[in-house]
Amino acid sequence: MTATAGPGTVLIDYKAGNLTSVSLALSKVGVAHTISDDPDLVRKADRLVFPGVGAAGQAMSNLRSTGLDKALLEVVRRGDPVLGICIGCQILLESSEEDGGVECLGVLPGKVKRFDFSHLPVPRPKVPHMGWNPVEFLRPHPLFDGIANGTHFYFVHSFYPAPTNAKNTLGTTEYGGLSFTSVLDGGNVVATQFHTEKSGEPGVRLLKNFGSWKP
């Protein structure tokens, strides 16, 4: 790295879960990256991976208290590539029903809803939605290069993204009779509800594609 080069790909550490798996999967496919909780470094990132497990409320309060929310928004607005994963996908929307209602980043219009199958007869679909489920790609995208439409990815979540505008849905998944948005498309920001780092070879391929994506 030369003295003038930026930090390259940054994996944001905002203390919302475990970064080990994402970091190992990025390394596996040769995407060099820095793990950082420093807003100044995040702000300068050429490419951001925004993961997360746990609850939306905790994730948002960690982001706000560290100033990482503003740094992240700066990268988003500058047009550099950003990949959100799981909670990192959900909190791109305006609000979440989790934790009694949480205001989120508002990068894209829409909200995060809880799976509610109370209208269905027992035995009802289990919540969290956990396991491998196919993702239907609504249109081709560079992040899906080399990945067949309908490929299974690994999910663990009780809440799902519900963007207001149909154009922000890049992939969908069916669970309990509900078709929900499992891949969000915000131009230079793409986010997966599934754990791409735990989704086998198609998952690491998506990370590899992200590493060379030029939105």
């Binding site: 798996s21 190992l24 596996k28 497990v53 396991g131």
Partner: protein, 258 residues
């Protein structure tokens, strides 16, 4: 549609995968990291690593092994045996495991389930339980009792009641092993699997008794209701591939990830 999962369990003893059905007369089968990577290549949905001697020796799980697996296997895997406290859970998760499994520790100290779920999320905590058929009685209305130490010690706890309690405490999943079926190759114990699958709303992994690929299809049928089936000797000893197991599940009309 959400796929039914095939899970391969690797019992690890002194750093080697061992045939873990009986605790005596173990046979070393290979290196856990290499074997995990091989099942990953075969398309297994999840792996379980169980350190079968850690508890007895009162030591933590081999973290280097967990790291080695995490570098090679990009699917969820859980680690059990030798989890003594929250710090052990944290170490295992930070090394790259997706879940931790607690069994006898949770019987002794149920709050480890709620503490673990609060600290790391419900999805991280798997309750492993061994059930023995004892007949219906006042203390075991389901007819099944929770046992520990590989079935050698009874607890006086009803299996279905324990599964419900674990769910309330925040377990994200239950891995139910039938002591009666384990090692018989006669098929999973459908009765207790069905009872527990109906009693809780978290996923249930059936374990113990698989002798053919068709046995997996049987326990995953909606009438029984397991979400995942766990095998060990079927792949380690009998030489079935993960694809052969999944084909039997798919042939029975159930969704799998091919």
């Amino acid at each position: 549609m959400l796929a039914k999962r095939v899970i391969v369990c690797l019992d690890v003893r002194n750093g080697k995968v061992t045939k873990g059905v009986k605790f005596e007369g173990n046979r070393d089968l290979g290196d856990p990291v290499e074997m995990g990577a091989e099942y990953y290549r075969q398309g297994v949905d999840e792996l379980v690593f169980y350190d079968i001697t850690a508890s007895a020796e009162n030591r933590a799980i081999d973290i280097e092994m967990v790291r080695g697996v995490a570098k090679n296997v990009f699917i969820p895997f859980s680690v059990g045996g030798g989890i003594r406290n929250l710090q052990d859970m944290r170490d295992v998760l930070l090394a790259g495991a997706e879940k931790v499994s607690v069994n006898s520790l949770a019987v002794k100290n149920p709050s480890i389930i709620s503490d673990g779920a609060k600290a790391f999320g419900n999805q991280c905590i798997v309750l492993g339980m061994d059930a023995l058929k004892v007949g219906e009685s006042e203390i075991t209305p389901s007819g099944y009792e929770v046992v520990v130490k590989g079935g050698r010690e009874r607890t006086g706890i009803d299996a279905v009641a324990w599964a419900r309690r674990a769910e309330e405490l925040g377990a994200g999943e239950i891995c139910l092993n039938s002591i009666d079926a384990d090692g018989t190759k006669a098929g999973f114990e459908l009765e207790i699997t069905g009872k527990i699958a109906r009693a809780v709303s978290i996923p249930v992994i059936a374990s113990g008794g698989a002798g053919s690929p068709e046995h997996l299809a049987e326990v995953l049928q909606p009438q029984v209701g397991a979400d995942a089936a766990l095998v060990a000797s079927l792949t380690h000893i009998d030489g079935y591939t993960v694809a052969q197991l999944k084909k039997a599940i798919s042939d029975a009309g159930l969704p799998v990830r091919i």
